[in-house]
Amino acid sequence: MEFITLFGPPKKKEPTVFEKIKEAVGKTKENFTEQLEELLQGRKEIDAGMLAEIEAIMIGADIGVNTTTEILASIRAQVSRQTLSDPTQLKNAIKEELRRILKVNYAPPRQVEEGNPFVLVMVGVNGVGKTTTIGKLANRFRKDGKSVMLCAADTFRAAATEQLEIWATRSDVPIVKQKAGADPSAVLFDALQSAKARKIDYVIVDTAGRLHTKNNLMAELEKMTRIAKREVPGAPHEVLLVMDATTGQNGLTQAKEFTKTAGVTGLVLTKLDGTAKGGVVTAIARDLKIPIRFVGVGEKMDDLIEFSADDFVDSLFAA
């Protein structure tokens, strides 16, 4: 069973990130234009000033100094070898470099053994939108006719369980919870037992937001993955790191630390409907080879779409 097929064949064409963002940004009076297009218009050759302006766009999108410098170095080399001279080609050359980085070879999650649920654990720092993303994911799986169960393992933050419960009601899925302050691993254990008994297809686990610098909280995550593995062979089948598009260069450290303790298998980039570009995921894809799986583009249930490197690269250069 492959993850991609879990959503079934696409029934209707999903709106692209580009369209969604266009729609969101369209609410303001700003025009949705291509910054690169504007920059390159009417210019005959590639000069240093042009590259400096492109650098500013890339840095401004949070792509980061290292990745930007690397890409521009490759472009400069092409220019001096004269394989690249036309400004109109420049745009494609840069986008191609970015796409190459972002298209991380995606390894489908491990097989799920017969009679066991697919266990998906959501992790991330505080306030990135884990609970909201879970609500959207649950809705997605439900639409594909799968049975879903939510596990309220954020027992720390005030009213986190209540928040998840509301999402559970919205997409009409069962939720397993305990009282505030309970051991998250115990909630997880309960959920997995219950899911096995009820032959549930998907268990989505909400965890408390935690800064990756807090060792005891990170150890707690490690314990949870251990419990998951013990109760369901091969679990967790997917660990998604949720990251806010407004995050700057700290995102890379977050990805490193969460991968180390929780074995992150993919990223969800949220809040892309604002003006932030979320370019730090490029650095994450480049350094850690973690694929980006979904992007969040709004507050509605179906505002979670599959990541497409092409659309994302386009949106990086949109003003």
Binding site: T28, I59, V65, T213, G274
Partner: protein, 449 residues
């Protein structure tokens, strides 16, 4: 860890011995490093550009001080300039003479408004005020419930209102309630929103026009990247906030966004959120954030923390004990407890600069459990044993190990450590004080390791 800016600048200026002025060439080289360091710290690129221009103007032609290396000199210029940029007046909360003082917290989703509202109310309470909370976040599921739970935990009054009340109505009713019940501060927690969401921004403007808050505080995540400028500009343009709260500073983000926000809005950082607990809200100190942005650690915070947590009297007592050679295992345990009061050892280590003598310290993972174990071992001893470790023989060691759930090896190890510490302190006593009585007001370092 990143190489710190100061390290990099030292390298740039390595060859600059014997020149009497900072040359343009060297400064250009240094500015490149400064630029990268600031961008890596998430300072907005436009702000960085302006900043480096200023530094260049100041650095050019400056005479090389005898006492400072050129690298240090540029670091000093950068530092001073950053402190100047981040500092400023109006950092204090403006309390009105006709209470209640109304504070409104605004910001993007997930920046930490609700948690900050709770922390702020606790801070107010600690400073002699009677705060009241109200949540007008009618959008996010269970947001109002979240603030209610927080209020209860802190023991602060919250105006709950009806389940279907609109935000504006909630604000007005809460204000009336605060006035009637003699609460002198009202803190309004608003829903997170995108700065480009016209209708939700309109809602905030309406609240502002009707309730007329005395302080509007923008809540910003320390991890924000380049986009911080846009959101802050929009919020400020539409609402005119008086300052901002920088949250999640207990992580390892450099917090350069604060510089961007201050620069584009002119409004100061008023508070910094530094932890999960409700008292983890601190007043802002520009110099500390600057040290963090350019990678020089935060020694001042550490010193202040230590001064707060360590009982001076207890420190003097243990000093007296060392002097009279009476430093027992009980004292050893007390010292451990004092150190723990500072917070987790890792948070202490993170405050130290990543250069000089502390370079490798940060990499050392401190096992918090180790301290718990040591405490358990000492707790399992009889008072007599604690006062005189010489009587702890083999069978006593076995008993202590059983009692504390450790092994005899661990007990042995602890006793050895204790003996070493004691010896160390004895030596220190002899060299430092020469057996004389300690001068008045002298403080003793409290690290037992």
């Amino acid at each position: 860890m990143f190489e710190t800016l100061s390290d990099k600048l030292q390298k740039v200026f390595k060859n600059l011995r014997g020149e009497s002025r900072l040359s343009e060439l060297h400064i250009e080289e240094a500015l490149k490093e400064i630029r990268i360091a600031l961008l890596e710290a998430d300072v907005n690129f436009k702000v960085v550009k302006q900043f480096t221009d200023t530094v260049k103007a100041k650095a050019l032609g400056q005479e090389v001080f005898e006492s400072l290396s050129p690298g240090q000199q540029v670091v000093k210029i950068v530092r001073d300039e950053l402190v100047e940029m981040l500092g400023g007046s109006n950092v204090k909360i403006n309390f009105t003479s006709q209470p209640p003082t109304v504070l409104m917290l605004v910001g993007l989703q997930g920046s930490g408004k609700t948690t900050s509202s709770g922390k702020l109310s606790k801070w107010m309470q600690k400073n002699g005020h009677r705060p009241m909370l109200v949540s007008v976040d009618v959008y996010r599921p269970a947001a109002r419930e979240q603030l209610r739970v927080i209020a209860k935990e802190i023991g602060v009054k919250i105006y709950e209102g009806g389940p279907d009340d609109k935000p504006l109505r909630l604000c007005q009713d809460a204000l009336r309630e605060a006035r009637n019940t003699g609460h002198d501060v009202l803190i309004i927690d608003t829903a997170g929103r995108l700065h480009i969401d016209e209708s939700l921004m309109q809602e905030l403007r309406e609240i502002k026009d009707t309730v007329k808050p005395h302080e509007i505080l923008f809540v910003a995540d320390a991890m924000l990247g380049q986009d911080a400028v846009k959101s802050a500009q929009q919020f400020h343009g539409q609402l005119g906030f008086n300052g901002f709260i920088l949250t999640k500073m207990d992580g390892d983000a450099r917090g350069g966004a604060a510089l961007s926000i201050k620069h584009v809005t002119g409004q100061p950082v008023k508070f910094v959120g530094t932890g999960e607990k409700y008292d983890a809200l601190e007043l802002f100190h520009p110099d500390r954030l600057v040290s963090r942005i350019i990678g020089m650690g935060d020694i001042l915070s550490l010193i202040e923390k230590a001064e707060e947590a360590i009982d001076q009297k207890a420190a003097m007592d243990s000093l007296e004990k060392i002097r009279t050679d009476g430093f027992t295992l009980e004292d050893f345990r007390d010292q451990l407890r004092q150190v723990r009061k500072l917070g987790s050892l890792e948070s202490i280590l993170s405050l130290l600069p990543s250069i000089g003598p502390f370079k490798d310290l940060q990499k050392a993972k401190v096992d918090e459990k180790e301290i718990t174990r040591i405490e358990a071992i000492i707790n399992s001893m009889t008072p007599k044993e604690r006062r005189n470790d010489k009587i702890i023989n083999g069978s006593r060691r076995k008993r202590i190990a059983r009692g504390s759930g450790t092994s005899v090896q661990e007990v042995n190890q602890l006793l050895k450590q204790y003996a070493q510490t004691r010896q160390m302190m004895k030596n220190m006593k002899n060299t430092m004080f020469g057996g004389r009585k300690l001068p008045k007001g002298m403080k003793l370092p409290q690290m037992p390791f």
